[in-house]
Amino acid sequence: VTSVPTKRAKSPLRPRYLKLHAVLVFAFLFAPIIVLVVFSFNKAKSGTDWGGFSTHWYSVLAHTPAALQAFRNTLKVAVVATFFATIIGTSAAFALTRFKFRGRSGYSTLIFISLVLPEIVMGVSLTAFYTRFAHVQLNIHTVELAHITFCIAFVVVVVKARLSAFDNRLVEAAADLGATPFQAFLRIVLPLAAPGIFAGAMLAFTISLDDVVITSFTSGPGSTTLPLYIFGQLKFGVSPSINALSTIVLGVALIMLAIAGVFSLRASKRGVGAVDASTLG
């Protein structure tokens, strides 16, 4: 057996080519987003000619009532959906990780199915349910109910990932030290699960913020959300004000990520663990 000269050469994939590949893939991932942001500050009215820096399209947006209304609706729906989906999903995750009972895998399968059900199928089935079965008027509340439905599974998955790494000896220790189960839950389990619950809520919020297909089937007059507004505007073609609107949405998502990052950093400093990729995937 020949000896291998350096440690790095031991990889069958050469780091140098891998690094080049990584740079190219990151460029691929970010170039379109950066282009969009840059051109939202373009003075020129049409497409791709650079006419100088301007915030003109942002002030156009600020004077478009429909866009502002859509922005308010989006936030309203996302907050409501995140709140309820986090409560419902977290309790489901607790049930699935901390208790053993018959039918557990059935529940897991149901949650998994809701996760993989194509958006289009969920959209059309909800519109059929609302309009032909429950006979309700489509409005912002039907959108909220729909968003809670598809957010629950994401919260369950993220919180479950966090709880399955949980050391149960801590609860036993608390019990030995005289804590009631409720006290142990409140002072041991909940603080340790908090980063997972927070990550789940963040994911639910971003997914709600982003949804266009299900929203388009469940919203009525006056309950247009921002993605739906953008989608509608696209029928009239690409315009710089959509670039500006998109940049605002990207900004909101980045702020969310930054908050999650700060939170997870503080959590890991307290030794509680980080909101890492594995809890998001």
């Binding site: 379109p32 282009v35 969009l36 990780t97 199928v121």
Partner: protein, 307 residues
């Protein structure tokens, strides 16, 4: 991991009555579990199961004139399924599968080396690179597809760039197979990288070294050691890309056209301008069935707890 957790809870419950009797008796496990799942159960019953059953029912109904659907228990027909799989619509199903398959392969080719590099060679900045993968993952899908529309359109950025280079500025990119596959690949690439990263990161490096010590070459080590070890992540990534890609609506709508219709846009049309709910329902059921087969293949490969 999960099973171990449950096992611990279980032993705790078994042990408790012996040393800590009546005072510490908790709610029985099955009751607590079902109570905690009650909100999810009620929610999913009304807003997931019933709506899905309605769609299955509607797929056997008739097209209405004034109302979008005429449904009657005594008069159920299979004809919508025949229409959904006739030569007008079957190619759309096949096209959706081919698009999703090609983009999944593209995601593996782009994502695997990147995930491998981040997991093994990125050094101290590893978390920064991970965040760089997560940012597009959390960025609006619609907006990312709109960005490509902005770039690929007739008077878009790519054409003006090619024009500057003297390669002509009048190429058609939108409404092509290329555009839709590019969009799907771009849209779902993070879904491939994250699970792959997770399983490569967990891989025992000494396995690779052992493989070399035992005389395997690079190719053999890759296919016989690395690939089998990271296969759970690969399977997860493939399904996380393929499943949403096959039923996607936004990408074919924004980057495609009539020639590149996918099943998602077709269902959308049947519930919108086409006003043929029974046909749209039948297509939805077929799509759902296809996805469920995929899910059960996945569950049987990696086990339910990998959810």
């Amino acid at each position: 991991m999960d099973d171990g957790q449950v096992g611990l809870t279980d032993t705790e419950q078994d042990a408790r009555p012996a040393d800590k009797p009546a005072t510490r008796r908790k709610t029985p496990s099955w009751l607590a579990g079902n109570l905690l799942l009650l909100p999810t159960t009620i929610w999913f019953f009304f807003l997931l199961i019933i709506p899905t059953l309605i769609i299955i029912g509607y797929s056997l109904g008739h097209r209405g004139v004034i109302v979008p659907i005429r449904f009657d228990w005594g008069d159920l027909v299979w004809s919508n399924y025949k229409t959904a799989t006739n030569p007008d619509f079957l190619p759309i199903f096949i096209r959706s599968i081919v698009y999703a398959l090609v983009s999944t392969i593209a995601c593996v080719l782009l994502g695997f080396p990147l995930a491998y590099w981040i997991a093994r060679f990125s050094g101290r900045l590893r978390n920064v690179y991970l965040v760089l993968v997560i940012i597009p993952f959390l960025t609006s899908y619609l907006i990312r597809m709109y960005a490509w529309q902005f770039i690929l359109q007739r008077n878009g950025l790519l054409n003006s760039l090619l024009g500057t280079l003297g390669l002509g500025d009048n190429h058609i990119f939108l409404n092509t197979h290329f555009a839709v596959i590019l969009g799907l690949t771009y849209g779902f690439l993070p879904f491939m990288i994250l699970p792959l990263y997770a399983s490569i990161e967990r891989m025992d490096k000494s396995l690779v070294e052992a493989s070399y010590d035992l005389g395997h070459g690079k190719v053999s080590t890759f296919f016989r050691v690395i690939l089998p070890t990271v296969s759970p992540g690969l399977v997860a990534g493939v399904l996380l890309v393929f499943i949403p890609a096959v039923g996607d609506f936004v990408t074919p709508e924004l980057l495609g056209g009539v020639k590149t219709q996918m099943i998602g846009t077709t269902i959308y049309d049947q519930f919108g301008s086409g006003n043929n709910w029974p046909l749209g329902s039948a297509m939805s059921v077929l799509l759902m069935l296809g996805i469920l087969v995929g899910v059960f293949v996945y569950l049987s490969r990696v086990g339910e707890e990998a959810l």
